[in-house]
């Protein structure tokens, strides 16, 4: 297939040996039509038409702060110069369909926006166009308690959803737990996961059906409401993770899980990050059902202590595994015993347990807030690069050890953490963009980690998605023909390439 030669070339380019800076197209130019987007004048006409069609002045904004907030992200690893030309705030699926129809007519790019917490420039606007912010579509529409599912709009936050399920005493919860500010729409877009993924799987596993507005404004529903089906193509899993490049998701039916009887949260430290990673791989290989298993290096533990979120308690600043156990009382006890034995075999220390439900919650949120805690430590002018990869279990200890060493050698404030039970981890590096060459060094380090993950048969992203930042990595990962299949699907559903263009794959040029 020659895919490895192609990939090697792409690795070389991407690792800095060739730098054109231009967007590239690797596919058959005859197969994919060159899209032509609306002129600024036509974009303005489209904005005017949207305003009239929805009968509401406030449906669409061109306020410059609004545009900035929807085109730039201070936590994204990649930002570009362009901004959207307008932000639309639809209130219903019908309004989203109207907006899409008008944008389709004028060839205006459409970029969906919900929580804005993505990390790879997933909502940036390289071709201008309209950012569709679902802020006013934030309702729980139906709760089917006996069926264990719920119908929500895209701007429902997963944390508020769980608060509401607890308040209504349903005994149910939604287990996918990415960054605290994420909302369901974006979580569908990136096929996100989080700390619970090792037990409960990722976003794709929790979607029963989607209502989607296609590029031309057609509204479809992917499925009815069965928890299991083999009826036709799996459109749920196609739209989940497509980052808004195939359609705008306006309603989501989610499976819910039963809240376990018992929880326990514990940490255990290791003399090296390699020992911690090897212990984690052994836990998986032993088939112990942990509810979550996270790795944090000594830097991240320091961040937890500095953030003061579990004060007055302080944690050892050593490579650490965080465990969450859940299930029945006896089950939790058994699992703790098994994991404790495995940790010891890998030179781990004693388990330190959170002493009560409150401390469990604090400790876990310290883990979940870690990126934000790091952001809070930034000095003037400093930026963060945070990116993720995933590899097969047997390579975890190797890649984490090598990558951490290379990162530490930068001499910057940087850490490794992640969802190690999925073979998935993150590097987060603070750097000063005003220091010449610093960003380039960081970029090289991160890209080396990605190239290493691919050499180990891993993936360039376990949960953040491709966005605008990892398109060449995706090409390296799957090769030109597989990317060609993705492009064919894109073109079939979005013939004018107006849906979040420039994400996942390049627009043909």
């Amino acid at each position: 297939m020659g895919a490895s030669a192609v990939a090697a070339g792409a690795v070389a380019r991407w690792q800095g040996k060739e730098k054109s800076g231009k967007l590239r197209d690797y596919s058959n130019p005859q197969k994919f039509v060159q899209p032509k987007y609306a002129s600024i004048r036509d974009m303005e006409a489209a904005i005017q038409e949207i305003r009239q069609a929805t009968g509401d002045e406030d449906t669409i904004s061109t306020d410059s702060e609004d545009l900035h907030r929807h085109g730039y992200s201070e936590w994204s690893s990649t930002n570009i110069d362009g901004l959207p030309v307008a932000v639309a705030y639809p209130k219903t699926t019908a309004e989203v369909s109207q907006i899409a129809k008008i944008c389709y007519k004028y060839r205006v790019p459409i970029i969906p926006f919900s929580g804005g917490s993505s990390l790879e420039g997933n909502f940036s606007a390289p071709f201008g166009g309209v950012s569709v912010d679902f802020a006013f579509m934030d309702q729980i529409l139906q709760l089917h308690q006996e069926d264990m599912d719920i119908v929500v709009q895209p701007s429902v936050s997963w944390m508020e959803l769980n608060d509401e399920l607890a308040k209504r005493q349903t005994g149910l919860f939604f287990p996918v737990d990415p960054g605290p500010s994420a909302k369901i729409g974006g979580m569908v877009g990136t096929n996100c996961s989080g700390t619970n993924a090792v037990r409960y799987g990722t976003m794709k596993d929790w979607v029963i059906n989607l209502t989607v507005v296609l590029a031309d404004g057609t509204v479809i529903k992917t499925k009815r409401r069965p928890r299991k089906t083999s009826a036709g193509y799996n459109l749920n899993s196609l739209f989940v993770g497509s980052e808004g490049t195939l359609g705008l998701v306006t309603e989501i039916t989610l499976k819910l899980a039963v809240v376990p009887q018992e929880f326990s949260v514990a940490v255990v430290t290791f003399p090296s990050i390699r020992d911690a990673a090897a212990a984690a791989a052994s836990v998986m290989r032993a088939g112990v059902q942990v509810a979550a298993m996270e790795i944090m290096d000594e830097v991240q533990m320091k961040v937890v202590n500095l953030s003061g979120s579990t004060a007055p308690r302080k944690w050892k600043e050593l490579p650490t595994l965080f465990f969450k156990f859940s299930g029945t009382k006896a089950g939790v006890k058994e699992n703790i015993a098994m994991v404790s034995a495995i940790a010891k075999a890998h030179r781990g220390g004693e388990f330190e347990f959170a002493k009560d439900a409150k401390e469990q919650k604090l400790l876990w949120s310290a883990r979940k807030e870690s990126l934000w805690s790091m952001l809070a430590m930034r000095k003037e002018g400093s930026e963060v690069w945070s990116t993720d990869v995933a590899v097969p279990f047997s390579r975890l200890a190797d890649i984490i050890e090598i990558s951490k060493k290379e990162m530490d050698d930068l001499g910057l404030f940087a850490s490794v953490l992640g969802h190690i039970g999925d073979g998935n981890f993150h590097e987060s590096i603070l750097y000063d963009k005003t220091v010449p060459g610093e960003r380039e060094k960081v970029e090289q380090c991160v890209k080396n980690m990605v190239a290493r993950a691919l050499e180990m048969e891993g993936t360039c992203t376990g949960e953040h998605g491709i966005g605008i930042g990892k398109k060449e990595a995706l090409l390296m990962e799957v090769g030109i023909d597989t990317l060609g299949v993705m492009k064919s699907i894109k073109q079939a559903l979005d013939p004018h390439w107006i849906m979040n263009p420039g994400k996942i794959m390049d627009v043909p040029i």
Copy 2:
């Protein structure tokens, strides 16, 4: 959207109020190109070319028994008159690619074949063409024990795979367990499940990557080997369940699971099928982690007894739930106690446990062989109609009670059984095709069950797939625009509609 009006019309037609018998196309005729298949002469030329290209006389057969075995199935609910014109037996992915290239050139339909155990005419050949039988691609290629995955060819049987994993003392197993004769290739095709799905999910959840030969012979690999990824479109889940209509799967990397420490198998009877179904829904709602939970009506229990497979032990011929519990010793004990309490609350009897590992295995295989046990009871001229649906939990008791009553009223040998923890169940009905009107009565009864499942927001198939038998049901289920999205994808990847044409959706006519 008007989808419900469309669906109502389709329901009316499908339930017998309008019967054209013709294949229909509901989509925009301008959008989908009318395929033109090879003439018989061109098909012959293609066969000759395949023979030459592979350099092996035996790569392709036109033996009439061979054709019949690949175009007709005695356990499929739907059969058609046509047969393939040839059967190809490739030995490598490269040969599959050669075959596809030649078929693409001549516009010869290609129909993949592995275990041949599908039930909805999924491998029938309505437009002739070449059946590609993977019989000689039946090897385990790589076992990555530490990564808990395995690379296999399409004709590896899931049962032999598990025997091999046990023989090599890996402590691992592959949990998806459909009919005993199913093979991995076909299991990918229909996104099959089985009794373990309630605990372990369905086929789509166990595929790490696929090697696929596309319509034009291009070979792609969907992903590398991470257990979790958000890199680009989820092509695994698109090909899984696409029934060979998008490409030929030639290699599959599967996740493996750790064999639990402890197993227990038990049955509990109920005074009515409604009680049994309601108890099952309560088990799910309580969040008890059962390894499997199957419903069998009194007829199926009789079939188990008659088959003698657990002799001398006999089971009560009453509506019954079969449970499999697995996990740690304490976990299994706890789960049994919880389920036992729920069963009692629904008028269930005492648990009867299989007395040892051997009886566990016998009892479970009696369940798994149930369709074949029924087939063995057929008299001369009798046929079986076996089909499945799935609904949300809250509707399970209703649909099973009504459907069983309607089925019993036929006065035929018929039973209800199924994977009730997934909301999924089957009707199997024996009928005599020589008795005028009998097949029509059965068809009406089955179709009423499907229509009822859709009214309850369920699906026309939980695990068997659409094949040739449920295309109108799929239209009813998802509506014309969603089917249009599926057709667009089909056309993008298979522009001449040569891949298993006439399955899932109609060829445009």
